[in-house]
Amino acid sequence: MTSVLTQPRPIRLKGRSFLALSLSPELPFADWLARLDDLASRSTGFFMRRPVVLDITGIEIDRAQLRDLVEQLATRQVRIMGIEGARPSLLDASVPPAMADGRTTSDIEVPVVAEAVTATRAAAVPDAAPSAAPSVKAVPSLIVTEPVRSGQSLVFIEGDVTIVGSVASGAEIIAGGSIHVYGTLRGRALAGAMGNATARIFCRKLEAELLSIDGYYKTAEDLGPELRGKAVQFWLEGDTFKSGSLA
């Protein structure tokens, strides 16, 4: 009888705090969702894999509406991990649990893809009729025909980035897909930045400060001197960096 209670290995429970995004919907929900869609279209994948808390403080809402809102968000890849500011009567097992005592940190800015990028995308994907049946979507890519200057950060998490020119020391390219540099890569290149182990980095002349694929990185020092100045590509095999000549 007592053996259960004297089990030598207790279940471990620990407290831990995390930083979550907090979304505050506004009434009417249809309009707010439309604005959210607009934001999401300009920064695809922003909510992906991020914990999100729904803050409904002060919003008149019933249980069915809340459940519907959570489902609506789920279809947009926004996964709600908890609900803040809800009356206890609203919450049952069908909606995420209540969260309280959250501390506010600074506002989080959604990295909106630059104008030029949006334009390129619009040109690349000519108004795919939204009503059309789900069809094959072209993988977006961004082509930059100017040198990327020191201090500039080019973020394109939707797909590949191609630079026809050089990437200066102190500049960085962050791509969801692969990175191609038809010039000298002197800055940082982070490919597969949203989690993509098949992404690669290609450059015509390697002088990079840092390379990263899928979160695995190497600094210039780790790369060794043999590859400097060469036309090379990099890819991941498991958790090791592989390089090959492009010449």
Partner: protein
């Protein structure tokens, strides 16, 4: 309507002020009406380089804050009657420059002068961004060494994003002025070569100014190097750069390069 030029670099000590004064004097030498504006509020030097430090009464900040009229603050050069200086304030700081105030001053100067040369402070903060904000043409002053080149690259990025021209979707005309160049040291590999710098920055070359004692001597005399000794090597290089600014197509020579040994001459076309 005159043209507004910003002389900028990011890094300090590369020769922005020297070049502003020298190019200003070179342009004024041909009879153009030129004003050189010192944007380095708090650390002004242009008045010294131009030998006008004892004649400063009002300055840029006084004009912006409405304490003086523009005509009261402008100082006419004693040697060239078409060359003027608008000094910076030494006692205030750069927060006294306002975007509206700078715009007003630049617009007023543009309507009177052929060339308005804005001598930018080092850095990428308020003073530097305001100096470049209204420019039509940018002259990026760079020394042949890696830190200067990277800072210049950063400045070029800002010229393409933070200026009025960039915000209106126009392209800023940018020129590279390579200063303190020592051919022998570049050949030995102690310095970056001209081609290396051009490859990294990829903007057209306006001129190459050699490292020279003349420049130091001229600034201690309080005269732009183009006025102190018109025939010195750096002065000639600045005069040629000024002619290229006006649209002349002159081949660029690398100062100090041995020419004629095998009848070989490196000519570089300015874009």
């Amino acid at each position: 309507m005159g043209k507004v030029i910003v002389v900028t670099s990011g890094k300090g000590g590369v020769g922005k002020t020297t070049s502003s004064a020298a190019l200003g004097a070179a342009l004024a030498h041909d009879g153009d009406k030129v004003v050189v504006v010192d944007f380095d509020v708090g650390l002004r030097n242009l008045d010294l380089i131009m030998g006008a430090e004892r004649r400063v009464v009002y300055d840029l900040v006084n004009v912006i804050q409405g304490e003086a009229k523009l005509t009261q603050a402008l100082i006419r050069d004693k040697r060239l009657e078409t060359l003027y200086l608008l000094p910076a304030s030494q006692t205030r700081d750069k927060d006294n420059l306002t975007a509206e105030g700078v715009e007003k001053v630049i617009t007023a100067l543009k309507s009177v002068f052929d060339w308005v040369i804005c001598d930018s402070p080092a850095g990428i903060e308020r003073g530097a961004t305001l100096a470049m904000r209204h420019a039509d043409i940018a002259i990026v002053v760079t020394n042949p060494e890696v830190s200067s080149v990277r800072d210049s690259d950063r400045i070029i990025g800002l010229l393409d994003s933070k200026t009025l021209k960039a915000e209106n979707g126009e392209r800023m005309e940018k020129h590279l002025l390579l200063t303190r160049y020592d051919h022998a040291r570049a050949e030995r590999g102690d310095m970056l070569k001209v081609d290396d710098v051009l490859e990294i920055l990829s903007i057209p070359l306006l001129g190459i100014i050699p490292e020279s004692m003349e420049v130091l001597r001229a600034s201690n005399l309080g005269a732009p190097v183009t006025l102190a000794d018109e025939r010195s090597v750096p002065a000639v290089a600045y005069f040629q750069a000024a002619r290229r600014l006006k649209g002349e197509d002159l081949p660029i020579t690398i100062p100090g390069e041995r020419r004629g040994f095998f009848g070989k001459m490196f000519g570089r076309k300015a874009a």
